[in-house]
């Protein structure tokens, strides 16, 4: 009988335990279900965010500021004429250029940069690049012609140490065509190439050059290229040479035989000599247009001149990046000398040089506030008989410029 009672007590105890355990199990099941639901939701979010090969982003830059300008023009035998201007925006120059980058895949990149310069809405470049193999990128479309380093690498406001551009580096500009580029190691050194085949340049009636545009002005094409060598293993020095050849005359015009050859050399040295970061850059361009006879202006007879232009700049900037003081380490001082000589006896001939002094404050790595003082001096060598203006032009300017990359 006692054993029966013990069995009854055991069954009752077990029932009690089960009765006590069931609500806990029910709560645990509900909690598991909630976690699973949350996990499923997170998995869906991850799936939505899954990075594919394709990726689109907007970067770009904007530059604006203020310039106070004093221009003195002195004609032969006459007193100087002074003109002063103060302008917002044209702090050489206002620019808003959002850059649209679309990575179609790991081998294909589309780049498009529209740009508003305060007057017009243009396009800086619009091209597609195929990364065909290590050291071989093939691009097509509208791109900066490979020549020197300034236009392609240094001209952006958030990169340039001084507010303005050196004169005479507009050519060869941006053009329509195809190109190849790449870089390779060479033992301790490194070398790179950047070549293109594009529509080319157009010779104007006064002997100046401009890009032919999307419809070529003749059947010839422009070949341009830059080759560079980085002789040190730490890439602190880059030496580049550039060359260009283009048919430039309009088909069927008197300039049919006109050709343009350009030669260039550039240097780029960046080295931290603790606590100072030393930055030296320079470039030399020479443009030679084959001898042509240009139509006379204002009933003057046709004329000819040696159509050779040259431009050069040398720039040094110093920044105490190793300084302990945060304000001091964000200060950079810069100086640039530039010269630009255009053909004597043309209507636009002049010998000019310019000195730019700058103090920059870097708010962060891609945002800069610049103050630049610029002095330029130009002596006209123009052909007065053809309508050229003789005289001396001096320009003093103070720039306050803000530039940011976004």
């Amino acid at each position: 009988m006692k054993r029966f009672h013990n069995l009854v007590y055991a069954v009752l105890g077990l029932c009690g335990l089960l009765a006590a355990a069931n609500p806990a199990r029910a709560q645990q099941t509900a909690a598991d279900s909630s976690v699973l639901d949350r996990l499923t939701a997170l998995e869906q979010q991850v799936a939505d965010q899954k990075p594919g090969d394709s990726h689109f982003m907007v970067a770009g830059l904007t530059t604006f500021g203020f310039v106070s300008n004093k221009t003195t023009f002195t004609a032969p035998g006459a007193p100087g004429q002074i003109m002063r201007t103060n302008s917002f925006g044209d702090a050489d120059h206002y620019e808003l250029s959002p850059m649209l980058l679309w990575r179609h895949s790991n081998n294909l990149l589309v780049e498009f940069e529209p740009s508003f310069d305060g007057n017009t809405l243009g396009v800086n470049w619009a091209n597609v690049t195929y990364f065909a193999a290590p050291g071989l990128q093939i691009r097509g479309g509208y791109f900066v012609v490979p020549f020197g380093i300034y236009n392609k690498r240094l001209a952006a406001g958030w990169i340039d140490k001084l507010a303005g551009d050196p004169n005479g580096f507009d050519m060869p500009g941006t053009d329509f065509g195809i190109g190849l580029s790449g870089g390779f190691p060479l033992g301790d050194m490194k070398w790179s190439y950047d070549v293109s085949l594009t529509n080319g340049l157009q010779l104007l009636p006064d002997g100046e050059l401009q890009n032919a545009g999307i419809v070529d002005n003749n059947k010839g094409k422009m070949v341009s290229g830059r080759f560079s060598l980085l002789p040190f293993s730490n890439s602190c020095l880059e030496i580049g040479v550039s060359a260009l050849h283009s048919n430039a005359g309009d088909a069927g015009s008197n300039f049919t035989s006109a050709n343009v050859n350009m030669y260039g050399a550039d240097i780029n040295f960046v080295k931290s000599l603790d606590p100072i970061l030393v930055n030296i850059k320079g470039q030399y361009n020479r443009i030679e247009v084959s001898r042509q006879t240009y139509p006379g202006q204002n009933d003057a007879p046709d004329y000819s001149f040696s159509n050779v232009s040259s431009a050069a700049f040398a720039q040094v900037s110093l920044r105490p990046t190793g300084a302990d003081d945060k304000f001091l380490k964000n200060i950079e001082i810069a100086y640039r000398y530039s010269s630009y000589n255009t053909p004597a006896n043309s209507t636009w001939g002049a010998n000019s040089h310019q000195n730019d002094f700058g103090v920059d404050y870097w708010l962060n790595w891609r945002t800069v506030l610049k103050c630049t003082y610029s002095l330029s001096h130009a002596v006209s060598t123009a052909n007065a008989d053809q309508g050229g203006t003789l005289g001396i032009t001096d320009v003093n300017a103070i720039y306050l410029q803000f530039s940011v990359e976004f």
């Binding site: 990075p51 990575r103 790449g182 870089g183 060479l186 790179s192 085949l197 962060n364």
Partner: protein, 91 residues
């Protein structure tokens, strides 16, 4: 005196010769010292050739991949340099 102009055909020939040289030089291997460089070292050496060294926090992982391709077309980085720099910036 008429200036001698290099004909376009010669330029095209030179480009062809260069392409061959490209393939030949392309096989040039980097030495061990160069191959052992870290992404951080390459980031410091190459970015500041033109601009300040960027902060890794400035862009997302995907954006750095796209920007790496863009910068390779600008600065003619080697493929290994690009990949290492991007991997460093993604950290």
């Amino acid at each position: 005196m008429k200036r001698k102009i290099i004909p376009a055909k010669m330029w095209i020939t030179m480009t062809g010769v260069f392409t061959v040289l490209l393939i030949v030089f392309g096989s040039c291997a980097e030495n061990q010292k160069i191959a052992a460089k870290s992404g951080a070292q390459l980031w410091a050496e190459n970015c500041q050739r033109c601009h300040n060294t960027p902060s890794p926090a400035s862009f997302s992982h995907s954006q750095w991949v796209t920007i790496g391709m863009h910068m390779q077309t600008r600065a003619q980085l080697t493929d290994k340099e690009r990949d290492k720099i991007v991997a460093f910036l993604q950290q």
